[in-house]
């Protein structure tokens, strides 16, 4: 149980002198803490009083207080008040105005905490740079904007004076005593940690800690080394564990993690998908390891057929229903959205197989639209390049002149990619909403842009996906369970296939959010939190490439792996967490106050899914032409002779569909045809629940609060009393009123702002 010695404090000396100026009252106390990866202690089956208190598990970290000059202090105070967490629609009370807060940093003055483990053992998690002023909440180690997980550190620079800048790499030696270290986060943050005299004292040069006290150079190098050694694949479980123990008892995941067939069944019923059933054919991951253990298939299709049919798809990823039942605008209907991998053209299927494949793609509909997913979307390498360029542009010291900024932004092409995703998603949602049909998203691997598109389409056409819980389930289903290779795509494996498709998706969602602020229950803050969580290795959600690996790690199906995957090494059973912690357990990383901010106060409850009950029978829908098959590509529908490539013509997707140029201008809106009332459209509202985003040049914007976080002018924030500000005032007034006239209970107009009601009311 006793955790290994580890962790590190830094900074030899903390300024004990009182603040010299008023501004220094805002100087922040920073604790540099480093912690190492622990062999995981087993959690007692019944975590009772024996379980150490949460803080007891934290000798992992040794704190050292430092007066810093991370940005000049004044700005810090301001930044904390009004920057990263103050988003449109969000508000935190201006703490800077509260004088009681100021000098708290002094408490730590002069403290020296030794750290007695070997630096070289440093591995794993957090050089969390931790704001002491807020450190009352030790439970949420990465909750402050100054917290960085190791995986998030993109570049480390030591700086001395104006000119001396050294890029730190593992093994490199410091050529000078740094005054400051700059930590460039891969999530667009920049952390500057400054040191006062402590870092400059002569003993700082000593490679061995003197009296167990470490100094800046050592800390700096420790961070570098720790960063080098940590890989994202490692999960740091210490905190997770402590949190788990801390919030002990039988706990349910906040949203269904879709790891059991019951979850899938519940979800299916919720969506009202009658023609579908949960297939257990992949229960042992022998059809495809990248597919979830369970998925939905058409009711009539037999498991044996599925097994056969899936063999004809790339990596065995056959059509899987992602969403069932849509409503059209005035007749209840039920289109299906399916996703599948590319056809595996080298195979030679027999007639029954083809029939099986076809019937699965048709999913009981006569009208099938095959969507070539990658068409018009950027490639993986493009996305990665754009993201790198964007990051370079958004650095605080980027050398782009102000008047050239816009063209530089354009040059990254990131926004252009966001636009193409939104455009395509909006097109597909029209296809899905307008007629009863089956829309099949086809991508070679079925693991990247299929997920992006299907999630966007669902956000656009299903109001329940726009709620806080609904969105989390959506991500869990379309990304996590569907086997998006998070680890590879986020650069965790060091493989060349790094491409932040998921971050691209989050940007698309942000665009929707800023275009349609009343339609989403979650806020920009929530998206930021999700954006940042991607690199926090405390849960497995984003740490694995496939559901199989994730399950293997958490040890939930040991029995199967032993039997059926004998070739694979047996997972270390003792190392399993088996707690089913996921990224959706927000209270691992965020405080309750922060979780409250996940809620978009501008959300209009009129758009709540309750008022939008699913009606299932497609009987009133406009029937498609008999057995029509279409290819949707380059923004246009083209009739196809057949669904499968094997019969008499070469493969559909093997032959690139780029032969169809996108018409420069529309001749006719598809929506007009789909709903059949072209000239009356203007007078009619859109089909209930359907959103159509704008994707013109001026409408696609830069997610400034995310990408420009490193720049002071953004941190300074554009504060404005917003809706939540008003909400606060409302609450305040109601309280006052209650106090004064206790009999009148004011109408509870303001929402219950309780994190439990927001997050944990699952199902």
């Amino acid at each position: 149980m006793e955790p290994e010695k580890c962790g590190g404090g830094a900074g030899a000396r903390v300024s004990t002198s009182p603040p010299r100026r008023r501004s220094q009252r805002w100087g922040l106390k920073f604790i540099v803490s480093l912690s190492i990866n622990q062999p995981l202690p087993l959690v007692p089956a019944n975590p009772g009083p024996e379980l150490p208190a949460a803080t007891d598990l934290f000798p992992l970290r040794v704190y050292e207080a430092l007066w810093t000059k991370v940005c000049p202090g004044e700005r810090d105070a301001r930044a904390r008040e009004s920057s990263a967490w103050q988003l449109p629609g969000l508000w935190m009370p201006p703490r800077g105005a509260d004088p009681s807060m100021g000098p708290r940093g002094e408490e730590g003055a002069g403290t020296q905490i030794a750290w007695n483990s070997d630096l070289h053992q440093l591995e794993g998690h957090l050089p969390a740079l931790w704001m002491a002023a807020e450190s009352g909440e030790m439970e949420t180690p990465l909750s402050s904007e100054y917290d960085f997980s190791l995986a998030n550190i993109g570049r480390l620079e030591a700086v001395n004076g104006l000119s001396r800048v050294q890029l730190l790499r593992p093994g490199s030696l410091l050529k000078f005593i740094p005054e400051e270290i700059l930590i460039h986060g891969r999530d667009f943050r920049l952390l500057r940690v400054g040191f006062e005299a402590g870092g400059l004292e002569p003993q700082a040069f000593q490679s061995e800690p003197k009296d167990g006290v470490f100094f800046l150079p050592q800390v700096t190098m420790a961070i570098v080394q720790a960063r080098a050694r940590s890989s994202q694949a490692q999960q740091y479980a210490g905190i997770t564990l402590s949190k788990a123990g801390w919030s002990s008892g039988s706990r349910k995941p906040p949203i269904p993690l879709l790891e059991t067939s019951e979850d899938w069944e519940t979800e299916r019923k919720k969506q009202g998908a009658r023609g579908w059933r949960v297939s257990t054919v992949n229960e042992r991951f022998d059809v495809a390891t990248s597919l979830p253990r369970y998925f939905w298939v058409p009711h009539r299709t037999l498991d044996s057929e599925i097994r056969k049919a899936f063999g004809h798809f790339h990596q065995g990823r056959g059509p899987v229903s992602v969403r069932v039942r849509r409503l059209s605008w005035h007749h209840p209907g039920g289109s299906d959205l399916l996703r599948c991998g590319g056809f595996y053209t080298a195979s030679d299927p027999n007639k029954e197989d083809i029939r099986a494949v076809e019937s699965m793609l048709q999913a009981g509909h006569s009208d099938v639209v095959l969507v070539d997913t990658v068409d018009e979307l950027p490639g993986l390498a493009d996305v990665q390049l754009a993201h790198l360029r964007l990051r370079a542009l958004c650095l605080p010291d980027s050398s782009v002149a102000e008047d050239k900024w816009l063209s530089a932004l354009e040059g990254t092409r990131w926004l252009d990619y966001v636009r193409s995703c939104l455009r395509k998603a909006s097109d597909i949602s029209v296809l899905v909403t307008s007629r009863v049909r089956s829309v099949v998203l086809q991508e070679r691997g079925d693991r990247d842009f299929n997920g992006l598109l299907s999630s966007l389409v669902q956000l656009l056409s299903a109001p329940e996906a726009r709620t806080l819980l609904g969105f989390q389930s959506l991500v869990q289903r379309e990304w996590v369970a569907a086997g998006h290779p998070f680890l590879t795509r986020l650069g965790g494996t060091g493989a060349s296939e790094e491409a932040p498709v998921f971050l691209l998706f989050l940007d698309c969602v942000w665009q929707l959010l800023q275009q349609l602020p009343a339609e989403f229950e979650f806020s920009e803050f929530f998206l930021l939190a999700l954006h940042d969580s991607v690199r926090v290795p405390d849960t497995l959600t984003f740490l694995r490439d496939t559901p199989w690996e994730r399950g293997k790690q958490s040890g939930q199906f040991n029995t199967y792996t032993q039997v059926y995957n004998a070739g694979y090494s047996q997972p270390p059973a003792g190392n399993s967490i088996n707690l089913q912690l996921s990224v959706w357990d927000w209270n691992l990383r965020y405080s309750n106050e922060q979780i409250l901010l996940f809620h978009n106060p501008g959300y209009d409850p009129e758009h709540c899914p309750d008022s939008w009950l699913p009606r299932q029978q497609p009987s009133f829908m406009v029937p498609g032409p008999p057995s029509s098959v279409w290819l949707f590509s380059r923004g246009a529908l083209t009739p196809l002779n057949q669904l499968c490539p094997w019969r008499d013509s070469p493969s559909l997707l093997a032959v690139s569909s780029r032969w169809l140029p996108r018409p420069a201008i529309s001749s006719e809106s598809l929506a007009d045809q789909e709903w059949g009332l072209p000239s009356h459209w203007g007078a009619c509202p859109l089909p209930p629940g359907l959103l159509l985003p704008g994707y013109l040049g001026p409408q696609i914007r830069l997610w400034r609060r995310c990408y420009l976080r490193g720049r002071p002018e953004i941190q300074m924030g554009l504060s404005a009393p917003t809706i939540s500000d008003l909400q606060d005032e409302l609450a305040h007034l109601q309280e006052l009123l209650k106090k004064w006239t206790p009999r009148i209970s004011p109408e509870g107009h303001s929402k219950k702002r309780d994190p439990d009601t927001i997050l944990s009311q699952s199902r």
Partner: protein, 768 residues
Amino acid sequence: MVAVTLVPDPVALIKLHVDMLQNMILSSVVSLLLVQEIHTNEKEVTEKEVTLHLLPGEQLLCEANTVLKCVQEDSCQRGIYGRLVCTDFKIAFLGDDESALDNDETQFKNKVIGENDITLHCVDQIYGVFDEKKKTLFGQLKKYPEKLIIHCKDLRVFHFCLRYTKEEEVKRIVSGIIHHTQSPKLLKRLFLFSYAAAAQNSTAADPKNHTVMFDTLKDWCWELERTKGNVKFKAVSINEGYRVCERLPAYFVVPTPLPEEDVSRFQGHGIPIWCWSCHNGCALLKMSALPKEQDDGILQVQKNFLDGIYKTIHRPPYEIVKTEDLSSNFLSLQEIQTAYSKFKQLFLIAPDFLTIFPFFSDNSTEFWDTDIKWFSLLESSSWLDIIRRCLKKAIEIAECLEAQNVNILLLEENASDLCCLISSLVQVMMDPHCRTRFGFQSLVQKEWIMGGHCFLDRCNHLRQSDKEEVPVFLLFLDCVWQLVHQHPPAFEFTETYLTVLSDSLYIPIFSTFFFNSPHQKDGNVGRESQDTQSKPLNLLTVWDWSVQFEPKAQTLLRNPLYVEKPKLDKGQRKGMHCKHQRQLSLPLTQSKSSPKRGFFREETDHLIKNLLGKRISKLINSSEELQDNFREFYESWHSKPTNYHGLLLPHIEGPEIKVWAQRYLRWIPEAQILGGGRVATMNKLLEMMEEVQCLQEKIEEKHHSQEALQAEATSLLRNSVRLSSLFPFALLQRHSSKPVLPTSGWKALGDEEDLAKREDEFVDLGDV
């Protein structure tokens, strides 16, 4: 030529046309369903009589029937048949476009200018289409186009197809429109005067209008007192009756010790004229440069004169004067003109006519192509950069006044273009009064109207010289918009207010923007000449918003987020407003310290200096010292909580200067987001505001006069199902944005030949 200049008896003419109207059943409005016969909807074929509404004094000049106005609705092209008329006030299209507009959404309708009305002054360019080629139309035409395209200055684009109109009518309407919009005009022939003459009795001054007009000595004294400038400056009436100078207003303010005879020495040139006083006593002055002379003798005289002037204003009690020469080292009017004409092209997008007129495809594709190049096109127009430079200059001046305690003297040739722009920007930033609606209106009145900005020339209202047309005032509004956008709670007015104000520039029933100087105005309304039989004309001012908008619509001009300056002396209220006081009334402390001790705590803090300096220095091309001061001032202000009732500085970094979407994008249907945009949250906001007010009232048990107003605004938004992001403007267009999915061969079930056939059909149908 049937052209239109001679009008017999207006009354008879109107009567004639009214009769005509009554007798005429307007050509039925047929929706042109170009591709899909099956979708032809019977309801569309309704017959409706639309009458032309004429303002008092407005005369119908010419008209044409069966004109097809092409509408792009839902990317489905159709045309509406109707009547195109041209009066001496506007070009109007009368068609059955209003059928769907009879609900709450139309409450923001302009009472003067309808949806299909273009005032003659609003017309920017007219193009004609001849044999599939687009040409600019001007002067006498030999050949008449089959299609008329009108680009408006408020960025609307109209397409009128004249193919089905009688040839004679085409000739009459086209030459009439061209004549009345393009040819030079005499000031006396502005519609303004006929309107004022006809509507003499109906106009009464709005009693609630508190805008200070600055046309009396009292107004100037009031302003001096308000800004506490009356210690060192005095209002003079030496120019009463414009005896001294026609460029100056009748009353203005000069430094107290300045001898009055100096004013007349160079006809008001070379005189420091007071604009505004800062709370610390520093003043913003302006001066029009002395005429350029070759003769050494005269130059010497000028020099001596200026020396004398400078001596006067350099001596205590005046602070040191720093001169900002806006004629050199700053923007030129030419630059502004070029930038704006490039910039506006980005938004002048023709409706989508591919199917009707395939030859327009070049235009339309351009638009789609611009998406990818949007940012670089935007940048290459450099309009945003010009905005940035104006804002930066204003910040620099604010820094001098606020932090360095020096007076600023703005110098420009006539002191009526950039002087107006910069001095009013500085005041918007520094004087919270100028951020209220009446304060802002008074500011425009003081700096622009009385400051003698040549609206007539700069807007080219009389079509006399295209060279003089420079959108300086629009630039000012755009700069203010940046501030409004960045600090919404600091302003009592909304961006909608700015947008409608910019539209009002082209409505010639208001006198405000139709004169070059107060002298010109007074000389033309007969205020000077006593002998005329009638009393002086009573011209409307644009500040009387009730002329254009119903009270309900006017609520959209008022910012619900604006927090009035808290009044500390009201005991009970204090409790109510404690929150706002905490947030909004933090003391303004940063500027009192000496500029050398700034924001950076220590000299050793090089890195940050370096990082910030690198970026800021790009903004600055002036001297090192100035750069330091500016940077410190700018950074330190932005590092502190914003006091909305104090100094207000904009962000001017690259990503922070934005496109005024409401003004520039509102007529582009594709740019709409149905149910989106800021208006989506506005509803919620107003609801909560209402509730806050209600609760406050309960607690206070006092009556709140504002309640009724707020409730109205709420209902205005509540009633409409889903507003578009470009509310309140886009509604009038009734467009919805829908995905544009060309479906080559949607109908054709899989046959390539069929596909080709259908494409032929497309073209054929277009000719129907």
